[in-house]
C-alpha cells in the first residue's frame, strides 16, 4: 500500500538535522515538497548554505529513513530557488533550539535573549560559529557563551 503524504511528512519530521539533532529536517524548513511520481517518492530539499557539508548527509538520512519505512524508490531533488530562509524554521523548531541552548534567529540581526538565563544583555563574539548557520555570542548577565542561529 502506498503511504499518504501526511504520513510521509510525519516520518520526515522524525529525521534529525545531523548538526543540530534536536530539530528535524522538517523543522529546519529544508524539505520543500513531497510528491509521488508513479511509484517513486520525490522529495525536494533546499540546502541551507550552498557549501554546507551536512547537505549530502541530510539527503542520505532522508533516503534511509524512507527506505526503512518501506518506501522503495526515493528520489531527492535539490531545489535552490527560492533560496532557504530562516523564516521557514517551524515554531516547534524555534522552541526546541532555545531549549537546547541555541538562540533562534531574529530579524533584528541578533538574539533576543540569552537561551540560558533570558537576559537581553548580550555581546557578539563572532559573526560566525561552529557551523555555517550559527554565530557566536556571550551573555553579559550569566557570562555563558552561546550559539545564535543566524537570520538569513
Amino acid at each position: 500500500m502506498t503511504p499518504d503524504l501526511p504520513t510521509i511528512w510525519s516520518w520526515l519530521d522524525e529525521v534529525p538535522d545531523p548538526e543540530i539533532p534536536v530539530i528535524s529536517v522538517v523543522d529546519l524548513g529544508i524539505v520543500r515538497d513531497v510528491a509521488w511520481q508513479g511509484d517513486t517518492l520525490e522529495v525536494a530539499v533546499t540546502p541551507t548554505y550552498s557549501g554546507c557539508p551536512a547537505t549530502s548527509v541530510i539527503a542520505m538520512d532522508i533516503e534511509t529513513a524512507l527506505h526503512d519505512r518501506g518506501v522503495r524508490n526515493v528520489k531527492i531533488r535539490t531545489q535552490i530557488a527560492p533560496p532557504w530562509t530562516t523564516d521557514w524554521l517551524s515554531d516547534k523548531g524555534r522552541a526546541k533550539l532555545a531549549a537546547y541552548g541555541i538562540a533562534p534567529p531574529s530579524p533584528a540581526g541578533g538574539p533576543e535573549a540569552c537561551p540560558h538565563c533570558g537576559s537581553a544583555l548580550l555581546t557578539r563574539v563572532s559573526q560566525f560559529g561552529s557551523t555555517p548557520c550559527k554565530a557566536h555570542w556571550r551573555c553579559d548577565a550569566c557570562l555563558e557563551p552561546f550559539d545564535y542561529f543566524k537570520c538569513i
Binding site: 550552498s50 557549501g51 535552490i80 530557488a81 533560496p83 559573526q127 560566525f128 557566536h136
Partner: protein, 253 residues
C-alpha cells in the same frame, strides 16, 4: 562566439573566481590570528566553494561535453582558468587577506544583486542563493577593514600597504569585453559601468571610515578573466589544489 560559448565563458568566470578565492581563504585554516577569525574564514571559504559547485555545475551543463564541476575545478590548467587576478593574489598578512576580501565582496555583492534579475532562471536562482551569503561576507569584511584601518598605527599601515598593492586589480572586475557584452545583450549580465559606480560609492565610504587613502592611479592589471595572462601565483596554487586528482586520477571519497 556563439551565445552558448559566451555563456560557458561567463559561468567559468563566476565559478573560477569563487573557487580560487575560496581556496585562498581556506589556506588560513588553522593559521588565523584568532580563533574567531579562523572560523569566520573557514565559513567564508565554505560558502564560496559551495557557490563554485553551482556555477561550475551549470557551466558543465551548458558546455554539454560531460564535464562535472569537479572535472572543471581539478582537471584544467592555469590558462583555462577565468578567475579575476585579484582573487589569486597570495594571502600575505591578515590585513591583505581581509582587504582583498572586502574589495571582492563589494564587487560580488553588486554583481549578484543584478544577476538575481538575469533572464535565465538557473542563473537568477544561484545568484539569489549566493547573495544571502555574500551580504554576510561584505558585512564582516567591511567592518574588519574599518576596525583595522581606523585601529593602531601598525594596523593602519598594513591596511594601507595592502590597498596600494591590490588597487591595480580592481579595474579588471569592471572592464567589459566581448563576453560581458554578449551576456549583457542577452539580458543576463549587468552593465559593468553601473556596477562600478555603485562599487565606488560603497568602497569610498568604507575607506573614509577606515581612514585609508584610495590610490589615485586608474591603472588596471588585466588578463585573469580572459585567461590571457594570469599572475605567477595561480600555477603554484593549482599544484596544491589539484594535487590529489593529478596524482590519483579519478580518486573519489
Amino acid at each position: 562566439m556563439t551565445d552558448r560559448a559566451a555563456l560557458f565563458e561567463y559561468l567559468l568566470r563566476l565559478g573560477d573566481s569563487t573557487l580560487i578565492l575560496g581556496h585562498r581563504v581556506s589556506e588560513w585554516c588553522g593559521h588565523a590570528p584568532a580563533l574567531e577569525e579562523d572560523i569566520a574564514l573557514a565559513n567564508t571559504a565554505l560558502d564560496l566553494i559551495g557557490q563554485t559547485q553551482m556555477w561550475l555545475g551549470l557551466a558543465g551543463e551548458v558546455e554539454g561535453a560531460g564535464r562535472s564541476a569537479d572535472d572543471l575545478a581539478m582537471l584544467r590548467d592555469v590558462w583555462e582558468f577565468r578567475n579575476l587576478l585579484l582573487v589569486e593574489q597570495p594571502n600575505g598578512d591578515y590585513g591583505k587577506t581581509i582587504l582583498r576580501q572586502c574589495l571582492f565582496d563589494a564587487f560580488h555583492f553588486e554583481l549578484l544583486t543584478e544577476l538575481t534579475h538575469a533572464r535565465d532562471d538557473r542563473i537568477a536562482g544561484i545568484a539569489a542563493k549566493a547573495l544571502k551569503e555574500v551580504t554576510y561576507h561584505l558585512d564582516r569584511s567591511s567592518e574588519t577593514v574599518i576596525g583595522l584601518g581606523d585601529g593602531t598605527e601598525e594596523s593602519n599601515a598594513r591596511l594601507q600597504a595592502a590597498l596600494d598593492l591590490l588597487w591595480p586589480y580592481v579595474g579588471e572586475m569592471f572592464a567589459a569585453d566581448a563576453v560581458d557584452a554578449a551576456m549583457h545583450k542577452s539580458g543576463i549580465a549587468p552593465d559593468l559601468a553601473v556596477l562600478r559606480s555603485r562599487f565606488d560609492t560603497r568602497i569610498d565610504a568604507i575607506l573614509t571610515e577606515a581612514t585609508l587613502t584610495k590610490p589615485d592611479s586608474a591603472y588596471a592589471q588585466s588578463g585573469g578573466k580572459t585567461g590571457f595572462r594570469h599572475s605567477e601565483h595561480l600555477g603554484h596554487m593549482l599544484t596544491q589544489m589539484q594535487w590529489l586528482q593529478r596524482a590519483y586520477p579519478g580518486a573519489t571519497w
